[in-house]
Point group: C2
Chain length 203, copies 2
């Protein structure tokens, strides 16, 4: 048992070290040695968790994904009563935007991974699996909303879901580049949701 506790504590320490590096100079330029130093452990010990820079990015990505899931789950649980499809979609989509320090750093880790995946097809597997799964989930919510009369029939749920995912990605980029504020990005997302939820039973 103590061994397992140590292992979890070590993972947490390493995650936090990655987090601090991501938030300051970015993971892209960081070596395994830098991460070990930041976590206050030896390089050899660090390499029990990941042996290469690509494995490090995947480790960091898993960490931010689990934080994002917790954040989105908390937002959904905070909704009153039985949440409507629109509320669930909005909770997920705003949970994907870099609106606070945690989600901002999470997005930066995602960008570091994205950047590497551009030049290494094997790293694209995560995106190729994760995004279609997310699109499916969103499309199911949109189909449910159509059944409930909140979205007018005739819309392609999968295509609308992919437009929402792409839109949030672009809105996030322009938050990080200081083109617009987080508040403005949320407003643009809400405008899009208003247009999408145009059925007789909406609101």
């Amino acid at each position: 048992m103590p061994k397992k506790v140590d292992h979890e504590a070590r993972r947490r320490e390493i995650s936090q070290a990655l987090w601090r590096i991501a938030s300051t100079r970015g993971l892209e330029g960081a070596s395994l040695r830098d991460v070990a130093a930041e976590a206050g452990i030896s390089l050899g010990r660090l390499q029990h968790y990941f042996r290469t820079k690509d494995e490090m990015l995947v480790f960091a990505l898993r960490h931010i994904e689990s934080l994002a899931q917790e954040r989105i789950r908390a937002r959904i649980e905070a909704l009153d009563g039985e949440p409507a499809p629109r509320d669930i979609l909005r909770a997920c989509l705003t949970g994907m935007l870099p609106l606070d320090e945690q989600s901002r750093i999470g997005f930066l880790v995602g960008v570091a991974h994205f950047h590497r995946a551009l030049h290494d097809p094997s790293l694209r597997t995560d995106a190729r699996e994760g995004i279609p799964r997310l699109r499916s989930f969103f499309a199911d919510q949109l189909r449910l909303a159509t059944e409930r009369g909140e979205v007018r029939p005739g819309r392609d749920a999968d295509d609308e879901a992919m437009v929402l995912i792409s839109l949030v990605d672009g809105l996030s980029t322009y938050i990080l580049l200081d083109v617009h504020t987080p508040e403005k990005a949320v407003q643009l997302l809400d405008m899009r949701l208003d247009q999408l939820f145009d059925g007789p039973a909406a609101d």
Copy 2:
């Protein structure tokens, strides 16, 4: 005069060297020395054009922007007669998507710059100036379309313009991650334009 010709030829050689590096391993990991070697000139000579890595990225960005402008201008000029606002918007937006080798590499250069700008606020000036200018241009086209009855009144032209820019950014990301094909991204963009151009005089 010959001096000027040399200077232009040199700029072109350096641009092409940057281009080749961006398309293979990416500019992010490339040093000025690497670029000089790729262009077949000395480091000292290269430094007449840019002295730091940040200046190199700005140089590369200017180059891809001028190529993108040419590409978009050619698309607009290829339109028959007096192009409608929707055709102009579509030409610009599809010109921003990584649909062929040139635009794909252009997008990669943009990503390398973006990545660096995330950790260096002074590099965000380009985005902070360029995107609002683009948004204004798109918004003007949308206002014109509203006057022509092609877009229903009541839409916020600036907000709709920013949604289009953000959408294209996200659609591009997912082309490069092999989440969807270039053709699919164009189809999603057209779906969005269909929804936007919903006035009585549309089509």
